[in-house]
């Protein structure tokens, strides 16, 4: 199977990484005009690797779209704007009238599918197929703590839409919060470490979340399993992949 790492390397082969010239930066700043650099290309490229696991998936994956409808009265104007834009496939940075946002949100059939410890988890139809998911954490100053739309979620191709937060470096990532959305066929999600899977968390109402009892050491990624314990999805956050 092809590897993505070599492709990423090849994508930047010849990048002139050894052609730094601070004098040129200063000169441009002084003259405030752009001039092209006629510098020879260099062959050095950073070694990067993104390993993608080859994981089969099967089992039952049914429609995730349940939960209680959310009245537009419960949303702030900012939330309406962001959600309406995302669900319609346009950038939230583009201006839209309140009326346009309202119409977009109504068309998206926004639903709250779960609530945990003050956080709310929403899904909405994405224009063109798939779903938009949003999380609202208590006390957050932003319209939504996170939001994302995917044309492939939920599906056998993408049974999990993970929104876990990782920190640390690329070589030694640590997990701060395990959180995301999962299709009906996914029963539990766990953190992958060098020692195996830890912090197994049940999927309830198509949502998984865990903030305590997470591994303190570096992690490899996350893994999702069905009710029989079969791995249905794996997401690696380290160079070189998660291994087998």
């Amino acid at each position: 199977m092809s590897e993505l790492g070599p492709v990423l390397n090849e994508l930047v082969s010849g990048a002139p990484v050894d052609q730094a010239s601070w004098q040129d930066v200063v000169a441009r700043a002084r003259h405030a005009k752009r001039r092209r650099l006629g510098l020879a290309a260099a062959g050095a490229a950073a070694v990067v690797a993104l390993a993608i696991p080859a994981l089969g998936i099967g089992g039952r994956l049914t429609d995730l779209f349940t939960g209680e409808p959310v009245s537009t009265d419960q949303l702030s104007s900012e939330q309406m704007h962001v959600l309406g834009a995302m669900a319609s496939g346009v950038s939230p940075r583009l201006p839209a009238s309140a009326q346009e946002s309202l119409a977009r949100v109504r068309a998206s059939d926004l639903r709250r599918i779960a609530a945990r410890d003050g956080s709310s988890y929403y899904v909405a139809h994405r224009h063109g197929g798939g779903l938009c998911v949003m999380i609202s954490h208590p006390g957050d100053q932003h319209p939504f703590s996170s939001y994302f739309c995917s044309p492939d979620f939920p599906s056998p191709k993408q049974p999990v839409l993970d929104e876990s937060v990782f920190g640390g470096s690329l070589d030694a990532p640590v997990i701060r919060r395990l959180e995301g959305f999962a299709a009906d066929g996914v029963a539990k999600v766990a953190v992958l470490t060098a020692g195996g899977s830890e912090a197994e968390t049940l999927v309830q109402d198509n949502v998984y979340v865990r903030t305590e009892g997470l591994p303190k050491e570096s992690v490899l990624g996350i893994i999702a399993r069905d009710a029989e314990g079969t791995a249905v999805y794996k997401f690696c956050v380290v160079r070189g992949g998660c291994g087998n």
């Binding site: 492709v7 930047v12 730094a20 601070w22 930066v25 990067v48 839409l161 876990s164 690329l170």
Partner: protein, 164 residues
């Protein structure tokens, strides 16, 4: 009367970032523009703008994050100019076999939505943390996680589709 706040950012601060991080800026922008020489020009221009505009840095985020945003904006301008035919771009002549597996993956990589593509490049070329990527792209860390996850899923499926 409005009194302008004096910037605490000195040219040496920007120079330090330039000297330390130049290669990853060039790598990331090369991936974005698919043109190393164009990327070099963009990085030089971006840092020169940062130097000129350093007094506008408000200090509500990291200086490097602010510079990344400037450089990415220059790259976006260049990409738009190229699309309009104002700046010559990579014609790819004779370099790629469109039926080669890697070329197919490269095409899929380029076809990713902009936010996903930038998140992948910033993560893997610049080794930025989720929080740093979130700062650069002006989104939340959770959104970065979702963007990377979606990109991984898409590319994983593409890799499987071109398995040799």
């Amino acid at each position: 009367m409005t009194v302008a706040r004096k910037s605490s950012v000195q040219p040496a601060d920007i120079e330090a970032i330039y000297r330390d991080r130049f290669p990853v800026f060039v790598l990331s922008i090369t991936a974005v523009l698919n043109d190393g020489q164009e990327a070099l020009d963009v990085v030089q221009e971006g840092f020169s703008r940062a130097l000129r505009r350093r007094r506008t840095f408000r200090g509500d985020g990291s200086l490097e994050g602010w510079i990344w945003r400037i450089v990415l904006n220059v790259a976006a301008d260049r990409g738009r100019a190229r699309a309009k035919g104002l700046v010559p771009g990579d014609d790819g002549c004779g370099h790629h076999d469109p039926e080669a597996p890697d070329e197919a993956i490269r095409s899929h990589l380029r076809a990713l939505p902009e936010r996903q593509r930038l998140a992948v490049f910033l993560r893997y070329y610049a080794d930025l943390s989720y929080d740093q990527i979130a700062e650069v792209l002006e989104v939340r860390s959770g959104t970065v996680a979702a963007a990377l996850n979606a990109a991984h899923t898409t590319l994983r499926n593409d890799l499987e589709g071109v398995a040799m």
